[in-house]
């Protein structure tokens, strides 16, 4: 939907990538978030319940330190956001429960120069590959619009992170898939989610991988994600269990 919040966020992120002269990546979400929100730095960590979590990128030294701290200590807004699946907003690390909740982290974070911390889980239902962390060096409240923007940045980071996994685990699908963003998540959303669940069984893969494969197939076929999902749900389409998506054209 042109003019929508998601569209505006995508433009901001694409702008950052253009400034770098590179394809859109998670780092661009971080730099765009810093430029658009009343925060001084941003970082993303890949999180997992089964494998090790690790920082992916950050915009400055303080962000980098905050990511490391939380993963090393195993406590903090980032960890809680991931565990509970909802945003953890701390307008002031000195006030309220921050100290009770994360005794060691709160002190260590203040020492780095952070005063406000906002942790947003990257998630689509059970797909939860990581967390976006924002910080400010003064007490800060995000208003409703800013919080919605932050969540939109998190959503885009989710897709970019999943896209990156395609390329890590197998031969690259298609470079152009990256940066496609959230534009094709419109349409009949319920079917997209149902099809993803179905594919975990059909392909024998986890939910993240199922979604990646669904999207990869839609793109390879030049079809809208919602339409492919509708076919899967109606059992008109079964995805092949191959690792390579089937292509109808001759792209290299």
């Amino acid at each position: 939907m042109p003019g929508s919040r998601s569209a505006r966020i995508q433009v901001l992120v694409a702008g950052q990538a253009a400034l770098r002269g590179a394809r859109v990546g998670v780092v661009d979400v971080c730099t765009a978030a810093v430029s658009a929100l009343p925060v001084r730095g941003a970082g993303v960590s890949a999180m997992s319940r089964t494998a090790a979590s690790h920082p992916l990128c950050s915009t400055d030294g303080i962000s980098e330190r905050l990511e490391e701290l939380q993963l090393t200590l195993g406590e903090g807004p980032c960890v809680d956001a991931f565990t509970h699946g909802s945003a953890v907003l701390v307008p002031d690390l000195l006030a309220g429960e921050a100290h009770d909740r994360w005794t060691v982290f709160a002190d260590a974070a203040l020492e780095t120069g952070a005063r406000a911390v906002f942790a947003l889980p990257l998630q689509m239902g059970a797909i939860s590959p990581g967390v976006l962390d924002l910080y400010a060096d003064v007490p800060t409240m995000l208003d409703a619009g800013e919080l919605a923007d932050a969540q939109a940045f998190a959503d885009l980071a989710t897709l970019l992170l999943l896209d990156a996994r395609i390329e890590e685990t197998r031969a690259p699908v298609d470079r152009a898939l990256r940066g496609r963003g959230s534009e094709d998540l419109g349409g009949y959303r319920a079917e997209i989610d149902q099809a993803t669940g179905m594919l975990t069984v059909q392909l024998g893969v986890g939910i993240d991988e199922a979604f990646v494969r669904l999207r990869a197939h839609a793109y390879a076929q030049g079809r809208r994600l919602a339409d492919v999902a509708a076919d899967v749900v109606a059992r008109r389409l079964r995805l092949p269990p191959d690792t390579e998506p089937q292509r109808t054209d001759d792209e290299t």
Partner: protein, 238 residues
Amino acid sequence: MNQQLLAKTFVELADNLVADFDLIDFLRLLTDRCVGMLDASAAGVLLADRDGELRVMAASDERVRLLELFQLQNDEGPCLECFRTGAPVAITDLPREIDRWPRFVAAAHRSGFGAVQALPMRLRDETVGALNLFHAAPGPFDPVGTLVAQALADVATISLLQQRSTQRSTVLNEQLQNALNSRVLIEQAKGKLAERQGIDMEEAFTALRTYARAHNRRLSDLARAFIDNSEPLPGLAA
């Protein structure tokens, strides 16, 4: 309108707005009661995401065809108009609106519906979604029924704020985000269970809901555990 049933329904809904509150299960209950009390054939609760797209939070029937009828209204239809204007929309004779909403009217007609209502879910100055009622026969709506429907839409709105929040947050935005994400979880779980058991989406939802209630779990928590394979769930899937 049956006064006793009316009173009983509101007491039942109020009783469910307590600790251990499960939003999706609650909204399903609300849509079921709409069908029971308001002479409606189907009911759904739609919520707008941060892009203003209407998403289905609950419906009295989880069959794919009905869900499509709700989702179709992202492009045209009474719910979209209701959401944009913040005012109720009442269509007593659906076929007459064929030029106004060609796709929606055709799809609703195919599903056997002749009249539609959309009641706004409003919180202070903001419209966050709509309660959508489908009726089989065209014809005027009972004014008392419409008042009750609006009251139920208001209850649905309030329920959004009752969600468990680890930080006791009252920011509506976060509550909406949690609600929408819960629904995604449930849709993913429906798909997985439907595929594994060879059942349809309505049966899958019923199985999940029944299991959640029997084991005193939140639907969304159960959905997550099922998708992640993080715990044995004996009796849910073979």
